[in-house]
Every structure is written in C-alpha cells, then in structure tokens.
C-alpha cells in the first residue's frame, strides 16, 4: 500500500471527486474501517495495486497492528460478505466500489459471517 496524503488532501479540499495523480491512476482507493474489538488504524484511506489479494490486505493489517501470530484478521466488503482470500481487489472494486472507493471492514472475530 502507498501513502495517500496527497489524495487525502485533495479529498478534503474538493469533497467527493478526487482526481488521482498520474502515478496512482491504476491504483484503487481502499477505505479501511475497524469494527468490534480490533485496534483502529488511524489512517483510513490507502491506495492498493488492483491485483493484490484479500489475503495480502489481511497480512498488511496484521503486520500494521503488530498482532500475535495466533490472532486472525477477518475482512468484509460493505459490512455484508467476507471475500475469498485469493480474490483480487480489482474485482471487488468493480462490483462493490462506491464513490471511487472500496470500503472494507476488518475485525478479529467473525462479524457478518
């Protein structure tokens, strides 16, 4: 994932329509929301390579939060379903993205199993 301070700055000034920079044009904007008893990641908006998988994001969050090896991260799309670990972000964004973003919820226990 890459830092999107730039995109965020644009977002705060021009409300909803963010124009991605040239470099990030092919990347997908992902909004991470914590749910349940999981620690919160302060920075919520990230840009992700479209071909990264769900399990790659799970590992990223796991590492970012410095969780124990036995703790698990569950991911949900729009508070509805848990995508397969090998599903790619591009497919989820194409079908379930809203306002130029893919909204994902993460937690340590199954939430909307």
């Amino acid at each position: 994932m890459t830092d999107t301070e730039e995109a965020q700055a644009t977002a705060s000034t021009s409300t909803t329509t963010t124009t991605p920079t040239e470099k990030d044009a092919a990347k997908i904007c992902v909004l991470l929301n914590a749910t349940g008893n999981v620690p919160i990641i302060k920075k919520r908006t990230w840009t992700v390579d479209p071909n990264k998988t769900v399990s790659w994001i799970q590992k990223f969050i796991h590492k970012f939060l410095k969780l124990d090896a036995n703790e698990q991260i569950f991911l949900y799309v729009n508070q509805t379903f848990a995508p397969a670990p090998d599903q790619i972000i591009k497919n989820l964004y194409e079908c379930h993205g809203t306002n130029g973003k893919l909204v994902l919820y993460y937690c340590k226990n199954q939430a909307w199993g």
């Binding site: 379903f81 397969a84 079908c95």
Partner: protein, 269 residues
C-alpha cells in the same frame, strides 16, 4: 419467469468421472490401484476427500494419513473452493470421455499457492459468502438477509447431500427478481480465461439502457476491446448460443453459489 425445471435438473445431474492417483512419495509398500469416482460438477473437492482418503489410507505412511489433503492435475494445484466443474472445464477443455486423472496428496500443503479451505466447515462459510455476494449483486442483499439460518443450512445440506428438491425449495427465492422487478439488478458472473485460475468480475446488468434484455452477443461486445474480441462462452462443458439471455442464464445456469462461471474465448484482432 417460470422456472425451466428440466434445465435445472440437467445442470444438477452433470457429473465428471475422476481417477484419483496417490502421491508416489507418500506410499509405503505396494502401489495402490487408482480410485475412480463419479463426482457432481457442482460439488467441491473437500466434499469428496473423505471417500478418497478412506481408500488410500492403508497405503499411505502413518504420519501422512491425517494430513490436510490437496489435489493437483499435471502439477497444477487445484483450488479447493472452486466448483469441480469449473476446475475441470478450465484444465480439461477438450471433449474427452476418459476419466480426469488427478493426484491426491496428504502432506506438504502448498499454502503459498492454495487457500486452505480444506474442511467442510471452512467451505460452508466460503459458500455462504459467495451466496451473500451474489445476492448483493442481484437484490442488494435483501433476499438473503431476510432468510433464516435454517434456510442457509438447507441450501448447504441440499448441495452436499445431492438433494435437488431440498436445495431448490430455498434457492428459487434467490433466483427470482425482487418484488415488482422483471430482472436482477446485476448478474453475478465470474469470467475465466484459458487455464488461468484468476477470474474477472465486473458489473453486468441484465438489461440494456433502453430496457431490452441483454443476450450473450451483447455481453461479447461489452467484453471486447479494439484489439481483443470475445468470441465465445462456455459453462458446464456447454458452448453457449449467443442469443441466450443473461437473465435466463443467471436463473438457470448459475452454480449453487449463485454465480455464473463462464470461460471466455478471445480472439486477437
């Protein structure tokens, strides 16, 4: 639209003959004969593992007997959470009446390459997630969320026990357009190319902008680019006619996970 039950039945009854081989490195003593099984195209490999394990157990070194099972075809590990018919059509596309020969392994699970959805419980929860995603696409998730746990159980049990009536008694509710609509909001489809396992998903509406029902010819145009043309679709081992309507296909040719799994043939211009 009235359900064309004959088609649903034919899809349900589609089977593949599989010849399971043991991994020669796991065998102790005499090499066993292969194990043959007729398997539903709609089923999943972890649902047949028990039968195959039971047969091979006495030939396998004791330390491997309870290992996490996985399968490969010519060295390609087979995804455990894809319907068997999808795997077969991707890897074995030529018409051929001989059984599909795959190898079962009980050790060295390739965790880097294969998602470890190897138990019935994990597979069930993956299956329900697919149903939910499909319903989000078709009905904004309103039908599945109005169902009860026992309905979800009935779908899963119908599938794993090969009970057509039990399964369809619930699935028909998922396969009807919502309230006064004449079609789904979007059609849940996964598109596959060649023998690559990665699929493409995008929003596909059943109706054109003018409100006409779209067919496969429209879908071909939608997937084509100036340099690459979509020229054909296959599912369940069948070449599909380009006049087939998308809404009808979704209702009748979807796998039990409520997705259409289509292999796309492309031609470079």
């Amino acid at each position: 639209m009235a359900h064309d039950r004959e088609v649903l039945r034919m899809i349900w009854e589609g089977q593949i003959g599989i010849c399971f081989q043991a991994d020669s490195e796991e065998i102790v003593g005499i090499r066993p004969e292969p194990f043959y099984l007729m398997v539903s195209r709609l089923s999943y490999l972890p649902l047949v593992t028990d039968k195959v394990r039971k047969y091979f157990t006495r030939y396998i070194a004791a330390e491997h007997q309870d290992g996490a099972a996985w399968f490969d075809f010519n060295g390609t590990p087979l995804r455990l959470h894809y319907p068997i018919g999808v795997l077969y059509d991707l890897l074995h596309p030529d018409e051929d009446s001989t059984p599909w020969s795959i190898t079962i392994h009980f050790s060295k699970f390739p965790e880097e390459k294969l998602v470890k959805l190897n138990t019935k419980e994990l597979l069930e929860s993956h299956y329900l997630s697919c149903l939910k995603e499909a319903d989000v696409l078709k009905h904004r998730g309103l039908v599945i969320s109005a169902m009860q746990k026992k309905d979800h159980n009935q779908l899963w049990l119908g599938l794993i026990n090969d009970k057509f009536d039990q399964f369809w008694a619930v699935n028909r509710r998922l396969m009807e357009p919502y309230s006064d609509q004449e079609s789904f909001k979007n059609i849940p489809i996964r598109f596959y190319y060649d023998d690559d396992f990665t699929y493409m998903q995008k929003l596909i509406t059943p109706l054109s902008q003018s409100g006409q029902k779209k067919n496969l010819a429209d879908l071909m145009a939608e997937l084509s680019t100036p340099v690459r043309k979509a020229v054909g679709f296959r599912t369940h081992g069948i070449e599909l006619h380009e006049e087939t309507q998308l809404q009808w296909m979704s209702e009748h040719l979807s796998y039990p996970d409520n997705f259409l799994h289509l292999s796309v043939d492309y031609k470079n211009e």
